[in-house]
């Protein structure tokens, strides 16, 4: 089942295209890692797909009415804003706003989201008084509580410790296995190689490579897009990628 379809999606900033004629289809069960250097257009691509910035071209998400879209796709922005000192359970339950009533379903979804992010013991804590990494996990739990078939996550694991980074990536992978679609922008190419089923490499607003990790994390792409060399290997423990050095 196709969860997202973009056709010639373009986002202009003045005269300059920051997302340039991107075509993309994401099916249920895919965990897509969106990679690329700073300013490549990863965040703008996701915001454009959601209709949060003016776009040209077509996005299947923009064709839905806002209420339906909110039940189809969850969005985890890069800016981790928590405006008020609400408790963690209340914050996570904000993810249920797109769903009407049914308190029992809300309680179950919130409990599951808290448990999945190992936050059950934090439920009564004030969210704004938690550490940055803990707040990031609370916000991921909020997006999980929305229970959407598709989840767009912008640098969701930035600022997390290694254990929580791996936990979140394994969770996204698990969600994909359960039939949901995940698109996550990621800077850690090692984690992307290890957990994503598909990588989308962006450079200057364009998708320059799209496929399984071993076909995207090639020496040519690393040199041309990131200006680095790297080491990729399929091991008994799964694929491993290690950036090595900056090429001059």
């Amino acid at each position: 089942m196709i969860l997202l379809s973009l056709q010639n999606l373009t986002v202009m900033r003045g005269e300059c295209p920051v997302v340039d004629h991107v075509n993309l289809t994401v099916d249920a069960g895919a965990f897509v890692g969106l990679i690329g250097p700073n300013g490549a257009g990863k965040t703008t691509l996701m915001r454009g797909a959601l209709g949060l910035v003016p776009t040209q071209g077509d996005s299947s998400l923009q064709q839905m009415d806002p209420a339906h879209r909110a039940r189809h796709v969850g969005w985890l922005p890069q800016s981790r804003e928590i405006a008020w000192p609400v408790d963690v359970r209340t914050l996570v339950s904000l993810g249920r706003i797109p769903h009407s009533g049914r308190p029992k379903a809300t309680d179950t979804a919130v409990d599951q989201a808290l448990a999945r992010m190992h936050l059950t013991d934090f439920a009564d804590r004030i969210a704004t008084k938690l550490s940055g990494g803990e707040q990031a996990r609370v916000l991921i739990a909020r997006a999980l509580a929305q229970e959407t078939p598709l989840l767009l996550a912008d640098e969701a694991i930035a600022g997390l410790d290694p254990a929580n980074q791996i936990m979140v990536m394994q969770l996204f992978s698990q969600l994909a296995t359960e039939g949901r679609g995940i698109i996550a922008s990621i800077h850690d190419l090692g984690l992307a190689a290890r957990h994503c089923s598909r990588l989308l490499l962006m450079h200057m607003g364009r998708v320059v490579a799209d496929g399984p990790p071993d076909q995207v994390l090639t020496p040519d792409h690393m040199r041309d897009v990131f200006g680095i060399s790297g080491y990729y290997a399929d091991t008994d423990h799964g694929p491993i990628f290690q950036p090595l050095e900056v090429l001059t």
Partner: protein, 329 residues
């Protein structure tokens, strides 16, 4: 769980203060006589005092308090800033300008509702201006900047009217009106303000879920189905209806919309939608209490409600800022 007891407590407090407001005044009337006179069909002096003076005053205190408290909570929720207050978007200063022009030109003296109607016209013009300035896709920052510009313009024009005033009596009348008061108001004032205020209350109270979603920022809220342009439009119209009508009837009364949501936020778990209801009741209680206080503190000197609110509100707000700073350490 604390917020479940907040609403009954605030409602009871408001009811007690409303009764006290009916019973306290320069004419010493017994409790039983007061209540009997309130429902009397006879045109006795006592019935006149209760029905034409004290009842509209108490009702207006509730209406103004609800309007200012609710507007403050809604604006703080939308702007995600605890320092936002109803005057921020320029409605109250524009309504005041309308009233000042009515006083200056003598329009206010021609018929009883000349002043409040002029103030409402001022508020309506401010709404048109702010919607034009904030634009269809403007965010919270554009709204604040537009509000500051309109407030500054209205304040400058108010100063100009005062500056060009031909006699000191007109100036003193204007200055006293701007201090805010609920004395000498009638049921006609209640009838004029109530439709605008009810419209404002209904609009603002429907925004609760959207304001809750905005806790996560504009992007996340939009992704959860909140139509931000519609939200901003309804917020401006709702706040303008409430604050425009409140200023038209009572003059400039500050600090209610700022302090009440700030005090009550911890008791409702900082939930923006619950804060709307709590601030409406809390605002009513605060204005009722202040209006009783002005009658008790200096019964012979016509202490203005707006002055008392500022004198009590400013130190209270400083105390809250001090507590907030201490909590952040």
């Amino acid at each position: 769980m604390r917020d479940h007891i907040v609403f009954p407590i605030l409602a009871t407090l408001t009811l007690i203060l409303f009764m006290a407001s009916l019973l306290i005044g320069p004419a010493s009337i017994g409790i039983l006589d007061s209540i009997t006179a309130l429902f009397s069909d006879e045109e006795t002096p006592l019935a006149l005092v209760m029905q034409e003076i004290r009842l509209p005053r108490a009702l207006l205190a509730v209406m103004v308090g609800v309007s200012l408290g609710l507007s403050g909570a809604a604006l703080q929720g939308y702007l995600r800033n605890p320092l936002a207050e109803p005057g921020l978007i320029g409605i109250s200063s524009s309504a005041a300008l309308g009233a000042v022009i009515a006083l200056q030109t003598g329009f206010a003296a021609q018929f009883a509702l000349g002043l409040p109607l002029s103030a409402l016209l001022g508020a309506c013009l401010a709404v048109v201006l702010i919607l034009a300035l904030a634009g269809p896709r403007g965010g919270a920052l554009t709204l604040i900047l537009a509000g500051i510009a309109i407030s500054a313009l209205a304040a400058a024009l108010t100063s100009l009217v005062l500056n060009l005033s031909p006699n000191p009596f007109a100036v003193s009348e204007i200055v006293f009106w701007m201090m805010g008061s609920l004395s000498d108001r009638s049921m006609t004032h209640v009838s004029l303000a109530l439709p605008f205020m009810i419209a404002g209350w209904v609009i603002l109270l429907t925004l609760g879920r959207s304001l809750d979603a905005l806790t996560l920022g504009e992007d996340a809220a939009a992704s959860m189905g909140v139509k931000l342009n519609r939200l901003r439009f309804l917020l401006i119209v709702g706040v303008a209806s409430c604050v425009g009508a409140a200023t038209a009837i009572a003059g400039a009364i500050g600090f209610v919309g700022l302090v009440v949501p700030h005090i009550l936020r911890p008791f409702v778990g900082a939930h923006p939608s619950r804060l709307l209801w709590a601030s409406a009741l809390g605002g009513a209680a605060m204005v009722l209490a202040a209006d009783i206080a002005v009658r008790l503190i200096l019964p012979d000197r016509d202490l203005k409600l707006g002055v008392l609110m500022a004198i009590v509100g400013a130190p209270l707000f400083l105390h809250l800022i001090y507590n907030t700073r201490r909590d952040q350490l």
